[in-house]
């Protein structure tokens, strides 16, 4: 059974690009355009990994991560931060990796494979 990745980003282009990238590499994907709707999707879909943008129109990435880390069942879900903001590696210190847009697709896939296989 293929592993599932939740993509959280307000940019439709980024969501499509990441969706295609992960699908081409054998992963199943689900999408959320904002941190506020993402929590419901995490609870229903139980993804194996999450890619997270930081700055979004409603709920920003760090606040979504806080909610995630307060849920005993979901708090160990690995998160990769993908953002255009500077100094973003300090925003969510417990993320398994932080990539700055524009990011290297091969590097991202390598991190995903190392994390969830």
């Amino acid at each position: 059974m293929s592993k599932k990745i939740l993509i959280i980003d307000d940019d439709q282009d980024i969501r499509s690009y990441l969706g295609d990238l992960f699908t081409d590499n054998g992963y199943e994907t689900v999408m959320a355009e904002d941190g506020s709707v993402a929590m419901d999707i995490v609870e229903s879909e139980k993804p194996d990994l999450i890619t997270l943008d930081l700055e979004m129109p409603g709920e920003w990435g760090p606040r979504f991560y806080r909610k995630l880390s307060q849920n005993d069942e979901l708090k160990r879900t690995p998160v990769i931060v993908i953002s255009g903001l500077q100094a973003n590696k300090y925003a969510i210190p417990k993320a398994i990796a932080t990539l700055t847009k524009p990011f290297d697709a091969e590097e991202l896939i390598k991190i995903v494979k190392e994390t969830i296989g």
Partner: protein, 297 residues
């Protein structure tokens, strides 16, 4: 509560974090934001020739120069201006700290937001808040919110507040501000006291006895003031206060730290914000608000 925000900015990258927080608050809480920039310091009293705050060069202030500066600021913050209906730019000449305070008084600002330093001096930038923040925080009637690290501005709104107390008189105002913010924005509130054991070797029983006393004092001091507000935790442990505050904020994903501006130096010309607040401002991964007076809490 945050009806009128004064964003004091040099327009330099060091102030981008402060600007991000100010504009986000404007959109999120419907605040009115004044982007306040001091163009330069007059070379003589009331002179039209000023030393530009950014370049240090002497420039003559006229309408053309002011409109150029305004355009520069609009370009710098173009993305933020795009969604902000309630933002205006105000330019002044003079000594920055004095003009910021004057504008805050004139506008009756509820909150001043500024960077901790202009970032021009790297060594200073790492170790100390700049003199403008020092002077503004000391004299402002309203709370002063500061953002130093870029990553400290990546929260988007407040929902988890940390109030650090040393049980000082000033801490009463800081607590009132933290509590009213928590009530109004439906936040969780953590009340924290760090038992300062830096540079001391104490018996563990003595440390834990002091912790019990501090916890009791925290409860007795703050719980009666909270009425029906129940979203609070009380944390007390030993360590170096600024280190423990920053660690707790990071561990609990705190998005606003609220501290009393406190100093033992009574001479207002020499008094600094207080070393704990200074260090927390420089190191925290979220905005830090310092409160020194009871007027706007």
């Amino acid at each position: 509560m945050f009806k009128k925000i004064l964003l004091a900015t040099t327009g330099s990258p060091a102030s981008f974090g402060a600007a991000r927080v100010a504009f986000d608050m404007a959109k999120r809480y419907g605040s009115e934001v004044t982007i306040f920039h001091v163009v330069g310091v007059p070379t003589k009293a009331f002179s039209h020739v000023v030393n530009d705050v950014r370049t240090g060069e002497e420039v003559e202030i006229d309408d053309e120069y002011l409109s150029w500066v305004e355009e520069e600021l609009k370009t710098t913050f173009a993305k933020q201006f795009a969604g902000a209906d309630n933002a205006k730019i105000v330019l002044k000449t003079g000594v920055p700290s004095r003009e910021v305070l004057r504008e805050a008084r004139k506008e009756d600002s509820d909150l001043i937001i500024m960077a901790a330093s202009s970032g021009e001096n790297v060594t200073f930038h790492k170790g100390y808040p700049g003199s403008t923040l020092q002077k503004v925080a000391k004299a402002a009637r309203c709370p002063v919110l500061s953002v130093h690290r870029e990553s400290a501005s990546y929260w988007g709104g407040f929902s988890n507040i940390l109030f650090g107390t040393d049980f000082s008189k000033q801490a009463e105002s800081a607590f009132k501000f933290a509590l009213s913010t928590a009530r109004e924005l439906d936040c969780d509130l953590t009340i924290f006291h760090a038992l300062d054991i830096s540079g001391k070797v104490l018996d563990q029983n003595e440390i834990e006895e002091n912790l019990l006393v501090a916890r009791k004092r925290t409860r007795e001091t703050y719980v009666p003031l909270m009425g029906d507000f129940k979203n609070y935790d009380i944390e007390v442990w030993e360590g170096t206060p600024y280190v423990e505050l920053v660690k707790l904020a990071r561990e609990k994903s705190i998005d606003l730290i609220c501290l009393a501006h406190h100093t033992s130096e009574l001479d207002p010309e020499r008094a600094r914000i207080g070393s704990t607040v200074e260090q927390v401002i420089l190191r925290a991964n979220c905005p830090v608000v310092s409160v020194s007076k009871p007027d706007k809490v």
